[in-house]
């Protein structure tokens, strides 16, 4: 259903009233639909502090996201095999989704539980107790979520990429393993430039890498595929994988259209927060591929209609901001807009889950090429290059590099990327750090965001 109302940001309580009106106007919801307020009653209290888009498409998006745990338990009850894929963001899940009764999800998603449940789940407290203190990134919440089993069912297979990933995740996954969770570790090599005379391969991002790395990752995927087959009792044929890639590309195409429409429109047809959530669907389809396609189709329809009618947020003069890294506290995305910015380009650390997968190669080769495009596996210089290209493409006027508390990579690449962008793009760049509950540092965040937006406005007016 297309929204009968102009775009407006509303809170949870208003959403529940609006939903009643929409039902009266003919809104039909999927089985996981319902009032957003019920999620608050179930503990997702951070929702009370968020502002949401008022379209039926956004309601569906949020209900889809917030029902993931419930849907995972339901899938288990229906006999689905569940693969917990850790760390690689967007590639290994395709191996599971290639099979008819299998699905994949990222236990890493527990990253957001402390924010969404405002610490009430006790996951960070548990992490503290087992020695995973604040020097680790918020993904430390995963151990409690895993062991508690209330947040998601115990997967039938757990994979984890290590090597050129981050120390936080590797260390935390190892602790999980120490608690008796079997993990299929696989090697993600550091992505480098070829040495003189070394055979080369080209990634979809345009980067040239040694062909040996592609073969190596492909061999690892073949190994994981064998385990997935074993767990699911079905053959992972080339045809099935090719079909899974085609579906993935369809979803990536939906997201590409959505991002372009939102970032290029004169007025932002969707708020930053909904864009972040929509992009996240790419990595494991929020545990349901069919629904992901449907949710994105609704969002696209709403966006197209708003763009065509000149509807959107703000007056079109907001500062165009490219955002680097996901935020541990979702309210930060609302904050950007309340400071006078709008989202025009993102690198939430999974841009390789948004790029189209090549279809002119054997499926495992294609997946290896995508895995090697993971911005965390390569150099900060390459990541900065991609961010700069994205910022140029979406005509960003400022860049916000959001640091993740405790994250091993942020202490190195944050400053590096910020400096590189300042010199390459000549636009204002600021680093901010967003903790899972940012209320206490909100004035500082606001000041920093406002300062960078102000600098961009001055630059715009030539002052």
């Amino acid at each position: 259903m297309i929204s009968p109302f102009p775009p407006q940001c509303i809170g949870v309580a208003d959403w529940d009233l609006l939903r009643e009106r929409l039902l009266g106007l003919g809104l039909v919801e999927p089985w996981y639909g319902g009032p957003l307020g019920r999620h608050v009653e179930q503990g997702d209290s951070r929702l009370l502090r968020l502002s949401f888009d008022n379209s039926p498409a956004a309601l569906r998006l949020w209900n889809f996201l917030l029902s993931e745990e419930e849907r995972l338990f339901a899938a288990r009850a229906q006999g689905y095999r569940i693969v917990g894929t850790m760390k690689d963001l967007g590639i290994v899940p395709l191996l599971a989704y290639a099979l008819p009764k299998a699905l994949a999800f990222y236990p890493d998603g527990a990253w957001w539980i402390p924010c969404v449940m405002e610490l009430s789940a006790g996951l960070l407290r548990f992490a503290d107790e087992i020695g995973l203190d604040e020097s680790f990134c918020p993904v430390r919440a995963m151990v409690g979520a895993f062991l508690g089993e209330g947040h998601f069912p115990r997967p039938d297979l757990v994979t984890c990429s290590v090597g050129a990933t981050c120390d936080d995740f590797s260390a935390i996954a190892q602790r999980l393993n120490g608690f008796g969770v079997p993990i299929l570790w696989w090697e993600m090599p550091h992505v480098r430039a070829p040495d003189p005379g070394e055979e080369e391969a080209r990634l979809p991002s345009g980067q040239t890498v040694p062909a040996a790395l592609v073969r190596q990752v492909e061999a690892e995927f073949a190994r994981i595929a064998r385990h997935v087959e074993e767990v699911c009792g079905e053959a992972l044929t080339g045809e099935r994988l090719a079909a899974a890639i085609e579906r993935a590309n369809g979803i990536r195409a939906q997201l590409e259209e959505l991002r372009s429409a939102v970032f290029f429109a004169p007025r932002a047809p969707l708020p930053a927060l909904e864009v972040l959530i929509a992009e996240m669907l790419a990595i494991h389809y929020c545990s349901d591929r069919d629904e992901t396609e449907a949710v994105l189709a609704d969002l696209l329809a709403e966006t197209r209609r708003r763009v065509a009618s000149g509807l959107g947020y703000g007056d079109g003069f907001e500062v165009r901001v490219f955002w680097v890294n996901p935020v541990a506290d979702l309210t930060a995305m609302n904050l950007l807009e309340s400071c006078g910015g709008r989202l025009c380009g993102t690198d939430f650390m999974f841009c390789h889950a948004l790029d189209p997968i090549p279809v002119d190669r054997p499926p495992l080769t294609a997946l290896a090429l995508m895995a090697l495009s993971d911005p965390l596996a390569g150099t900060a210089a390459e990541r900065a290059r991609r961010v700069a290209a994205g910022a140029r493409r979406f005509r960003a006027e400022a860049v916000l590099v959001s640091r993740i508390p405790g994250a091993s990579h942020c202490a190195y690449e944050g400053e590096f990327i910020a400096e590189r962008l300042r010199s390459d793009l000549g636009i204002p760049v600021a680093e901010i750090e967003v903790p899972p509950l940012s209320d206490s540092v909100r004035p500082i965040l606001r000041t920093r965001i406002e300062a960078v937006l102000e600098a961009a406005r001055k630059r715009r007016s030539g002052r």
């Binding site: 990933t165 120390d167 590797s170 120490g178 090697e187 550091h190 040495d195 091993s408 190195y412």
Partner: protein
Amino acid sequence: MDLPEFACFSPFIPAEWGAAHGVRLTRLARPPAAAQRAPREGRCTYAVSALELAQGFLAAGGAGAVFTTSCDQMRRSAELLAPAERVFLFNLPHTWETPLPHRLFRQELLRLSGFLCRAGGRAFAEEDLAAAMRRFDGARRELLARRETSRAATFARLLLAFHERADGSLPETAAQEARPARGPGVAVLGGPLLERDLWLLDLIEESGGRVVLNATDTGERTLPRFFERSRLVADPLGELADAYFGHIPDVFRRPNSELFRYLERELSARAAQGAVLVMPVWCDFWRAEAERLRGWLPCPLAAIDLADDANGRQRARTRIQALLETIS
């Protein structure tokens, strides 16, 4: 003529490999005083020291620097070094349970060979490699024998000097000194101990303990296994790769079960009654294992944040004394 020198920082980079190429892969362990200032939040103190040592080394005309991908911090440190052409980042696999990472390690050695040759080394010959391996192996046996007659800090210093010389020769030993003969046996494990950190070992001994095992990243845990003589003829490179990658237990490896197996074996063999875990500030790998080790080790554990300032030393002193009181 002096051999071209390359700075390196990982026990997984075999110095024999450098020797076979006519170069020295010297492991630096004495950071300048400036490197001891508080680093940026989130950066491991060891990685920061390695970066500063490498920067100084390259600026002073060193032939190159070799870093590994053993952790995110070292991998990213390598990128901050200039000039990039003189920096080699060794892709050190973290997994080890399948044949692939072992193959990769060997391939990386060959890639390193190319780098060394481009930077002034000579192409390696198998006989040269085998000869270097024999020399280093013998030196390591002799080195380990000195453990029994040296104080802990002296032995640690010997190891550092051996790695720094990186030519298979043994450093001079200072005048014989008495190793504590009595006191509870303490195993020291954890991250690297640089020259500036060796006060910690003295502190344990001055407090009445006896260091029976140095299982830190710069201690005996990270020495390769002894070489099999027959394999030195048949396949020296394969033997080298296996002795290092196939056997050094480390905290970053996945899974890190071999580290626990090593500790189980060695703590019992050395009759350790207590353990000290050294955690470089902001090292995720060692910090994450601290609580697990506490529950798993058969003896009490004192976990220490390695900070070389007055407060850090005082905290370490208090913890070590408390540990020794518990186990005495």
